[in-house]
Structure formats: C-alpha cells, structure tokens
Symmetry: C2
Subunit: 255 residues, 2 copies
Amino acid sequence: MSLLVVGSIALDTVKTPVEEHGDLLGGSASYAASAASYFSPVQLVGVVGSDFPQAEFDFWRSRKIDSAGVQRVEGKTFRWSGEYAWDLNTRETHTMDLWIETTRADLDALLPHVDLLILNDSEAREMTKETSLIKAGRGIRKMGPRYVAIKKGEHGALLFGENEFFSCGAYPLEDIHDPTGAGDTFAGGMAGYLAGNVKKVTFTDLRKAMIYGSVLASFCVEAFSLERLRNLTMDEINERYETFKLMSQFEVPET
Amino acid sequence: MSLLVVGSIALDTVKTPVEEHGDLLGGSASYAASAASYFSPVQLVGVVGSDFPQAEFDFWRSRKIDSAGVQRVEGKTFRWSGEYAWDLNTRETHTMDLWIETTRADLDALLPHVDLLILNDSEAREMTKETSLIKAGRGIRKMGPRYVAIKKGEHGALLFGENEFFSCGAYPLEDIHDPTGAGDTFAGGMAGYLAGNVKKVTFTDLRKAMIYGSVLASFCVEAFSLERLRNLTMDEINERYETFKLMSQFEVPET
C-alpha cells in the first residue's frame, strides 16, 4: 500500500547551541515522506515557491517519493526557523502550533474517523488538560481514535489501545546534532512501516511500527536537516532495530 | 545475603498541588530499607531524635528490618520538606544535595571501589558536565564504578555496563500522589533484589533488579509517604513486574 503524506515543505533555519544552518530542506511532510520511503511507496502533497531547489525533486525521485502532488507556485517557499536550548530538547519555535486551540470543533469531528493519532506530549496535555500522559492518552482515545501514540522526544513514546499499552524508550545517542523533524520522522516511519508491511493492523504491528519510527528518528537527529535520511540503508535500520530491542528487553539470556 | 542501608531517617512535610501532610516517616534510608525488605533481610543504620515515634520501630520489626543500628539521640529528628510543582516531577527541595560539589575528592577516591552507582539525571549531569545522559553514564563508568544506573524520574532509568546498556521506562501510572522517596525506593528495591536473589551478578540480573526497583517505586508514589510500602505483597509486586514486561516488550505474540 502506498502512503499519502500531506503537509508543509519548507526551507529551514536551525540554530543549536553549537551550529546554525539556513535554507535546509524541512517541513513536516519532507521528514515524514523521507522516513516512510524506506518502507513503502509515498505520494507527497504540498506547496513550494519559485525559490525551491530543483535538486530536491531529484532527491524525492531517488527515494521513490512521487512528487506529482507537490505544487510549485510563484513566490517564496514557506520558511521555518527554530532555536534549541542547551539540552536540545526545549525548543523555541518561531512559528506556532495552534491547531488544537483554533480549530477544536473540526478536530473533535475528525477524531472518530482516525485509526491512529500521533501527537506529542504537550499537544496531548493541551487537548485533555491532563498533566499525566497516561490519563491524556486514555482520554484522547475516548475522543475517537482507535489508537493513540504520544511522542515524548528524547524520552520515547507511548502507545494506547483499548486495553493495550506499550512504552517505548528513545534509542540512546551520545551526540544529537539537530532534533528538527524527529517527531515527523517518527510519524513517517511508523506510518510507512504499517503501509508497507501490514495488511490487518494488530497491536503487535503497531509496537513494531513505533520502534521503526523511533529508529528512523534516531538517525534523523544525528545530522542537520534530513541529511541522514537521504542515504540510509535498510541494513543500518534493521541493525539498529535489533540493538534497540536488546537494550530494552527485560529478560535476556546471557551470551 | 542481608543488605546494609545507611542514611537519613526523617520526619517529612510534603506539599503537592493538591495535598499537604506533615510528620510523615521519610528519609532516604527509610524508603530504601522498606523497599529492599521485600527481597532480602535489611540492617538499617541511622539516627533519630527523641520525638521519633516508637511505632516506626514496630513497623521495621514487622518488615524484618533490623533496627539495632538506629540510634536514638536527644533532640529533634531530622526534618525534610519538599514541595512539588503541578507536573509532580519538578521539585523544590528545601534542603540541598551538595555532595558532588563539596566532597568531590572523596567521591573520586571512592568510585573505583563501587560495583553499582545509582544516581539521578541531574547528579549525573553535574558530575560529568555533560548534557547527554548517555555520555554522562559512560563517563561516570570510566571514573570507576563497574555499573552505573541513572534514574530519570517519570521517564525511567538507564543502566550502563562496560559494553552493555539497558533502558527501562517507568511503570505508567494514572495518578501520582507523592513522588517523595521514589528514587530511594528504586535504589532499595534494586539493591534488595540483588542481595536477596543473586549470587554472582550478571547484566541480566541487573536488568531484572532495575525493573523490580521501578516496580517498587511505582507503588511508592501511589500514596503519601511510604504508606504503600508498608503492606505490599510479593504477589502484587510480581504481578506488576509481569504487566510492566508486557508493556515494554518489542515483539509479543498476539493472544
């Protein structure tokens, strides 16, 4: 099954305590599509301006991402900029995420039609006014989605089903160069794995999809922009999956 | 093997956004000894004042905690007070933990003799001046301890060996009533499990010990003070261990 990714395609300026880069390929759809492309065919839908580099269309082609739905219009490509604090986990976003507040009625109407809602911890708290992410996750499920995944940045992710629960750490990294797009990469990897590998989704498939999402996100933050997602191999992905599994297992036979 | 627990025994005043209680049994040694007592005999060493309730000595006896090393002296028992922010994870400690700064030379001399050092995330960052906990954990290992466990509060814990690594989430709880003592309970449960169940420690044993520590800590925070640790059963502990394992497993056969 192919995956349809609709969202922002941007040129980013990112500043961390040690580096600053501009005009990087960014936007949630760019990250999600790149991550998903390792598991399934992807159709990308978005808008770019006349200043958007043609080379990125070539990149999408190389990753078998169908960019027929990417419209080029007169004017500038959407620009996003972000600045990270010393711990690389607190972000000052220079644009705002207001979708929960400003279009709540539309959101509420949509939720019962959603199979899997992926959102981050602050969004989950905002939606439910709960501080406990466990309460938040269960509360959002009751608003309609069959499954809810809450991303916790460097602390991993939580997955809620009707009677099921999965807690997934983040793959441990010594050096994080740029956390931009990690959440979108996680979502893209998760959706891509499901689209490419699963016919009828079970909770076990969702666990595995969440782990692949985490693995892709761990590669993403190892370099600026989505550089690391341009030339990853399935062997690298699968090797990290196995290492990650071993690191998270409660009971492992001694070797 | 019995476990020797040396540390503070206190009467606590704890304030959360919804509750405040005073004169609660507290102190790191009280929590650690109570948690460890579910797995191994415990010898408790500490000092209390003339105002310390005799009933707590009876409690220790009931949990087979040998309190012969608890000295009662004239004057008041050590008082600790803490106040928690809305998320119950940020604490304003009204006493200070300065051991890393003020006695660093002694600490450095001790570390090579330590088998397992358990400390929290901010202490690990303070000791190494690293923001990455992965770097911090590996760095501390190089200072001497054979194994290092870093507690991350509601985000779980990390375990570092020479070539081994384990990432453990926190058991998910909807309601946390009082996080006081969770870290000491974790350490006591971990050390108690090792003392009571293991002859020659392997990394697999340490994983299991860390999980039991997390399980005990999850019970601890369900009630104020160490109320929940007074009357826990091994069946409750083992049941939660199994649930926790299932929630954390990467690959589970569908039932």
